[in-house]
Symmetry: C2
Subunit: 518 residues, 2 copies
């Protein structure tokens, strides 16, 4: 039987349909109806679903990671492999790699979860005070109540004092703070506000290449135009204003560029931008009328000597009112990275600067539809931005834990760079900050072999690495890279000894791979 409708061809009759109008009626009503392989009439198929969603890609949890999960299951079931465990260096998930939570934070979270513990003298007074303050700000003194959509008032105040302190006293209005469900939520929300127009007037968003694929995924989903600007690998992944200009002008031929996104410290590239560079970027955004989005979730993760974190907000205000009263900026932070690494709580905030008051009202309305960010994540953000102070009972332990974690990360950043650079065919820029190395790999002529399997060469490389060593990395193609170059992203998070083993195995693998395919 062959049914033909206006939009699709049915080559099989339905097998198990309850009631089934004639083909012509079907066509009139719903030409999106499709038969699946089994001959069943299926309403929602890849051919009839949201096309923008289909375009979404997210390499950090892509096919390599799915295969890694399978391999873990196989190992559990006793399947023999040339390794005993999968090492997941694909994602910035500190606790999963054994990093310990900050004791004080977890004490307060336990107290907030089960306030009966407030009578327990096992908990230090400062932890109890923080918990009481958070609970008092919650409806019915429970973290199980919804908060205000923008976030709990006193948490937004903590955030704003934290920002003021970080930025050397530059004022921060709590009304400009929105708590979010991780930084991703804030970034997608701001991009959503900014996306408009059709065809050549569609909003264009400038993102770095390599980029963190949340950006490309969000733009695909929103149907906004992705505008690539390339970081300069030769100069330690620095940002060139000339390249921004080139990229912007090329984009103006086919869309309406409105937004410039920066990730500093860089993901996946690990660079830390200089103050001068940030100033240049702000000047460029002002000149070209671009809304600035500053992804600053790694603000405590700065390791290299001579490097320091400069927030876009601070630099903007230091440039004087000509800039600070005009440039529109949203900056993002999270509880997931830095020294705390509390990814599972999905805590985050954004600060909006010079946002039109009517747009702010629209933003507040938009976030109210989802009711509120998770309250435990908000509580955690209150602690991150208002940690124990000198003189408080938990201060010494807090500082010791924080410092130990950051020192350990700094040591692993250095070690990663050093070991990778001993491998012929691998070249790694200094890991100045964040949690990743993004080394360039010279591959022998694998392209034929890889294409035969329909894989780009660095995917082929990483998949082979996973199968042979259990090491799970993300291919550079998942982040974007200059045509003809290949990379991978590797976190520096595994415990020192495991990271060392991993780097050694990687070295051996790379040498064998090069031999095998040369």
């Amino acid at each position: 039987v062959l049914f033909v409708t206006s939009s699709c061809t049915f080559t099989r009759a339905p097998r198990s349909l309850t009631s089934w109008p004639a083909a012509s009626a079907l066509a009139r009503f719903n030409p999106y109806l499709k038969f699946s392989e089994s001959g069943r009439l299926t309403l929602l198929t890849v051919d009839t679903m949201n096309a923008n969603v289909k375009k979404v890609e997210y390499a950090v949890r892509g096919p390599i990671v799915q295969r890694a999960v399978q391999i873990e299951k196989e190992l559990k079931e006793g399947v023999k492999k040339p390794f005993n465990e999968v090492i997941k260096a694909n994602i910035g998930d500190a606790h999963a790699m054994g990093q310990q939570p900050i004791t004080f934070f977890r004490q307060v979270l336990a107290l907030c979860s089960y306030p009966e513990l407030l009578d327990d003298n096992k908990f230090p007074e400062d932890a109890k005070n923080r918990a009481r303050r958070i609970l008092k700000a919650c409806g019915g003194s429970s973290i199980g109540a919804y908060s205000a959509s923008q976030g709990i008032d006193c948490v937004r105040q903590d955030v704003s004092r934290y920002i003021e302190h970080r930025d050397g006293g530059i004022a921060c209005d709590p009304d400009n703070i929105y708590l979010t469900t991780g930084a991703s939520d804030g970034i997608v929300t701001i991009l959503k506000l900014l996306t408009t127009g059709e065809g050549r007037t569609r909003t264009g968003v400038m993102i770095s290449i390599p980029q963190y694929p949340l950006y490309s995924a969000a733009l695909a989903e929103l149907g906004a135009v992705q505008i690539n600007y390339y970081l300069n690998e030769e100069k330690c992944w620095s940002l060139d204003i000339d390249e921004l200009q080139r990229s912007l002008e090329a984009a103006r031929e086919h869309c309406r560029p409105r937004v410039l996104c920066i990730i500093n410290p860089g993901n996946p590239t690990g660079q830390v931008q200089s103050r001068q560079c940030i100033e240049d970027v702000i000047r460029f955004a002002a000149k070209e009328h671009l809304f600035l989005m500053a992804d600053e979730v790694y603000q405590d993760n700065v390791y290299a000597e001579g490097c320091a974190f400069h927030s876009f907000k601070k630099v903007l205000f230091e440039m004087g009112p000509k800039f600070s009263s005009t440039v529109e900026l949203a900056s993002f932070h999270s509880t997931s990275k830095c020294y705390m690494g509390e990814c599972g709580f999905r805590g985050g905030y954004m600060e909006v600067i010079n946002m039109d008051p009517e747009v702010k009202a629209q933003l507040t309305k938009l976030v109210s539809v989802r009711l509120c960010p998770p309250v435990p994540g908000q509580a955690l953000m209150a602690l991150v931005t208002n940690p124990p102070q000198p003189g408080e009972p938990s201060y010494a332990q807090f500082i010791a834990e924080k410092t130990a974690t950051l020192n350990n990360l700094a040591q692993k950043a250095k070690m990663t760079e050093e070991i990778l650079n001993t491998v012929p065919g691998i070249r790694c820029n200094p890991v100045q900050g964040a949690m990743y190395s993004f080394p360039r790999i010279t591959l022998p002529d694998v392209s034929v072999c890889a294409q035969a399997k329909g894989q780009v060469p660095d995917m082929f490389y990483c998949m082979k690495l996973l199968e042979e060593t259990g090491i799970c990395l993300v291919p550079g193609s998942g982040f974007g890279q200059k045509e003809g170059t290949f990379h991978f992203r590797m976190t520096i998070l595994p415990p020192t000894d495991k990271l060392q083993t991993m780097l050694r195995k990687l070295k051996e693998f790379h040498q064998q791979f090069t031999q095998q395919y040369s």
Copy 2:
């Protein structure tokens, strides 16, 4: 100075712009640039933002609630009012209204947050065992690690066993379970997958009127077409298949209806659907090729005698393979309602039935971009679906707390209906389930007076109620209602004595209002 560009007219010169190309260049580059009232050039304004976002409305946190927050501040500052406190009966936020959390749930959450407590003999063994099981399933045994994007494996297993038990043994595959950030997140995600086409081929989504405004808000944001079907107020807000048919056929003139959404027990209307009605709806969806979305977050909130909750999944499978192997269904649940009321944790799940495997892969990819739902909310969902069992140390207390809460809600549902129905001009259907009454109010000729202030009459009524009594309700117009009828939504959540006072005040107010405007 008057600059004219292709899309807007600038009637003022910029005051504080750093660098400023000629108007013609501006026009070429970015006709979206706008001057704000202050004369400042602003990139993102209500005229240049995402138009779909502007169309979003969410009455549950709309102007009435904003005014309520202001009034609370005024009370704190000592401003004299004819009342001492604002009673928020606008939102289903149980803990904010004094409902106590389930002890067992909070014990386990505290143990998960601060595992040092596992050595504390204050905690019962079953709470410790649950915490150990959840922690073991987390990366690095920490709820601070990301989970799998679909949710933690063992939590999805708990959910699937819960569903099987609820549905009398009908199988539930954990692979069909997706944990979510509250039910809202799941609903928006499924609507996103289903939204496609342009103009007359745009996806249409059938929603009940009155509806919970998450639906209208999500459809506005996605640019999908909202198709209204009216519940029958005269028959206790029941669902008429004839009305579904009428609504569907009318919609086919201008869009492509693909989805039918049902909320059962009803929000804002509090009805509980009969098994027969659910069967009829499923038959209708099958006949008309509609994807079914069943919002079942109030599944434990059934109070009226003779009413029982029937899940769409169960009824679908009881109708036999003709239906159970073809009808596409997504159902949604949450930790926010029922007897637990843990809104702040943003826990939820959805079960997808008969979803095309390729579409499921797309869904999994899409949710992976946001990494994972909040892990504390996932842990809570594990407890809700796997609570203490007979024989375990916490069982008795758990059952006592759960029963007390549900009995109290049932009593308040009855009381609300009874008192409201003593007021001439108010008619309230039985609150069979959920957490709301949605009484019809007969208003005198307030329309002139209200229109003068640009308010619809029930908004005028509710705003006046708030100013005079401190009672915060949501006008029926925020949920949709038949032309010419007026309602409000009131939660039954305030503590019994406060609810009683509130209902008495409401009665007095309604009588005065009627007198004043007659």
